[in-house]
């Protein structure tokens, strides 16, 4: 589904990704872990097409298409969904209206008729349950005045509505208490199928207790330095990121 080869990217003059290789197949859950500044969020942004990052080398193929050639909206329409670490506020635009516009734009791209109001509301009601989100919240301006947990739940709700092929969760656990974390993770799990894939980006292992990955990759200084199963996350949790440095033969700060 997604095939990343030797991906290199920079922001302004700073090289951040220095050759990423990653293959994700339908039905799989991959986790990318790494210390701060390793390039985790950059990878998410580059995949979603944020203009601040310049891809200097490598390729990304998504469902047979060159992802890097597509505009951010077309990537979304092809089925890439990024759950933002810091969801944006848009005053005056209700979440309902926003999601409805998004759903219909994507349908238009796929040559489908726009969804009528009744069908949309029905779908919305159904998906709201998945993430335990309140109707009242959805009629408020998008993310404006939402708590951290509400914002993240809103992201997963939008994911449920847009039914992406590949969902990238960028530090979705940050700023969540344990209950909110569970609700969000349950939402993600319910949306999992044999046809879609999930890429979880996180600093901590605890999210992976709820969203169990098939593969864990450790990103360090812009490269994936180690890949393993879910036990790698536990090992990392136990030993800390220093053990990576040790394995790489780097000096560990006291």
């Amino acid at each position: 589904m997604l095939s990343i080869k030797n991906l290199q990217a920079r922001i302004e003059e700073k090289e951040i990704l220095k050759g990423i290789n990653l293959d994700i197949k339908p039905g799989e859950v991959h986790a990318i872990m790494g210390p701060n500044g390793s390039g985790k969020s950059t990878l998410a942004s580059v995949l979603a097409g944020r203009a601040d990052y310049e891809v200097t080398d490598g390729s990304v193929e998504f469902l047979g298409k060159d992802l890097l050639e597509l505009s951010p909206e077309d990537r979304a329409r092809e089925g890439v969904f990024l759950a933002f670490q810091y969801p944006i506020e848009i005053p005056g635009v209700s979440t309902t209206n926003f999601v409805k516009t998004a759903v219909n734009e994507i349908r238009k791209y796929r040559g489908q008729e726009p969804m009528d109001a009744v069908a949309f509301l029905k779908l919305m009601k159904e998906r709201m349950k998945l993430v335990n989100i309140d109707q009242a919240l959805l009629s408020r301006s998008l993310n404006e005045g939402f708590s951290g947990g509400e914002k993240k739940r809103n992201e997963i709700f939008q994911m449920a509505m847009l039914e992406p092929k590949l969902a990238i969760l960028d530090e979705t656990d940050s700023g969540l208490d344990i209950d909110a974390l569970r609700i969000v993770a349950e939402g993600v799990n319910k949306l999992k199928s044999k046809d879609n894939a999930t890429l979880v980006i996180t600093h901590y292992q605890r999210l992976l207790d709820y969203i169990v990955p098939d593969y864990v990759h450790i990103l360090y200084k812009g490269r994936i330095v180690k890949t393993g199963g879910k036990e790698l996350a536990l090992e990392l949790e136990e030993k800390g990121y220093d053990f990576i440095k040790e394995e790489l033969g780097e000096e560990v700060e006291a």
Partner: protein, 481 residues
């Protein structure tokens, strides 16, 4: 963002939808302004002597006045002697019923989306259709008359209800008020009159649709709304004009009187031709709109969506004379290309416990200049007056300007006045977030702008809101990605 800016620079203005001309033979006055022209207009309308005298008085006063220059707008001097002050489509004879309206005129309004056929209309809107200098038809008159509501053209009102016109015309905007109101008082050709008797709540929205058609003419309409004790009316105004290379002048006067416990809601969607993308042509929209809350507990609310005109000079105001009266002003003003708008409001608190609320949203794009100018005045006796003003500006691109000029004058220690203003742009991260959800940049910008203007749009009657929302998007098309 760069994508947004690129599209910004393309500035391909979408075609102005209402730019066509109807080919109708017109009965016109020769260009130029003199006492003779004033007499000519008055005679054309078969007016009584007192009306002519009133006009002449205004004209003589106007001669002594100079055109105001304080607004933040620049435009070539208007040559008042090259304008035709009267142009009426030639109709066969006096109409006995709506069915007799010239099919050509009927078609003109159909094309504008204004049906004069009562059956086809939404049953809750009555329309007075004004083309150039005259009103050609008013719908639902009979139904309204049964409730005692008078809704007719100003010309008709002068003939049929002289006592009301004598009493109220010029009572809110005196003929000497300003340069353009004096000019209007001298040469106004038609407009709407609306009278809501005591205790009556109008069951339908009343609306006037203004259309400039003829070349080289000015449009000077006059609207007067009187809401007697305990009455209510919601009034809508719409306007369009053909695309022409030369500027055309529109100098209207609107007066509203609200007596004890009366409420008037006045909504405008102003879409006069704004000129082309290089700033050629377009309407000069110099309008005086003012209402007086003359009675206790009365309320006047202005809502405007301003997207058209090359130059706009307009300050719908409320004089809060009655105790506990309320004034509101909700405005969205969009300027694109070379448009200039200097608009805002005046809230004059005179009575006790008077309240006013101002919400102004300015959106500037292209090379345009958009100014909010407002005055909040609290007089010595206006105990416990309250005002809240919010003025927000959104800039699209770095070649346009947004200006805020609020004047606040307070002479009473119990007053509470608050004013807030912000200026911002659409954030790159907002656009990216929308892109990531599958919205292209153009849709994203339209969505964000509608969100920005929502508080004002919510004030519009349903029939208007949808049209206004589309208009916002169209006005900015090509200027934003």
């Amino acid at each position: 963002m760069s994508e947004m800016l690129n599209t910004l620079e393309q500035t391909a203005l979408s075609e102005y939808k209402y730019g066509w001309v109807t080919d109708i033979e017109a009965d016109e006055a020769p260009p130029g302004l003199s006492e003779d022209i004033v007499r000519f207009i008055s005679a054309k309308k078969n007016e009584p002597e007192w009306m002519l005298e009133w006009r002449l008085k205004a004209y003589r006063h106007w001669l002594k006045m100079t055109e105001p220059e304080w607004a933040n707008v620049k435009y070539p001097k208007v040559d008042y002697n090259s304008i035709k002050y009267y142009s009426a489509p030639k109709q066969k004879k006096t109409l006995n019923s709506l069915d007799e309206v010239d099919p050509e005129l009927r078609a003109t309004f159909e094309k504008l989306g204004i049906s004069l056929d009562e059956q086809k209309r939404l049953s809750n809107v009555a329309v007075d259709a004004v083309i150039d200098s005259v009103s050609i038809a008013t719908t639902f008159k009979k139904e309204l008359a049964e409730l005692g509501i008078i809704f007719c053209s100003m010309s008709e009102a002068v003939q049929e209800h002289p006592e009301l016109i004598k009493k109220w015309l010029g009572s809110v905007v005196p003929m000497t008020d300003n340069y353009f109101s004096a000019l209007n008082s001298a040469v106004f050709s038609d407009g709407s009159f609306c009278y809501i008797p005591k205790g009556v709540k109008s069951p339908m929205e009343l609306s006037t649709y203004f259309r400039i058609n003829a070349e080289n003419t000015g449009q000077f309409e006059r609207t007067l709304i009187v809401a007697e004790e305990g009455s209510y009316v919601s009034y809508l105004e719409g306007c369009t004009a053909p695309m022409r290379d030369e500027n055309q002048l529109h100098a209207a006067v609107v007066e509203i009187v609200a007596l004890d416990n009366a409420e008037v809601k006045y909504s405008t969607v102003q879409n006069w031709y704004p000129g082309d993308k290089d700033g050629k042509g377009g309407i000069f929209n110099f309008v005086t709109k003012r209402g007086i809350c003359a009675g206790v507990n009365s309320k006047i609310s202005w809502t405007q969506v301003e997207t058209g005109s090359a130059v706009t000079w307009k300050y719908p105001s409320v004089i809060l004379k009655g105790d506990n009266s309320q004034g509101e002003f909700y405005s969205v003003a969009v300027t694109n290309n070379h448009q200039q708008a200097d608009t805002g409001t005046k809230m004059m608190h005179i009575g006790k416990n008077t309240r006013s609320r101002i919400v102004s949203k300015g959106i500037s794009a292209g090379f345009s200049q958009n100014s909010y100018r407002g005055l909040v005045q609290v007089g010595k006796n206006a105990t416990n007056a309250r005002n809240f003003s919010q003025c927000d500006s959104l800039l699209l691109g770095d070649k346009c300007g947004a200006h805020t000029f609020p004047y606040i004058e307070v002479k009473n220690s119990t007053a509470q006045v608050e004013h807030e203003a912000t200026t911002s742009k659409i954030g790159e991260d907002q656009i990216f977030y929308c892109n990531q959800r599958g919205l292209d940049t153009e849709t994203a910008v339209a969505l964000i702008i509608n969100g920005f203007a929502k508080e004002v749009m919510n004030q519009l009657p349903m029939e208007f809101a949808v049209e206004a929302q589309k208009l916002l998007a169209i006005s900015l098309e090509g200027s934003v990605g």
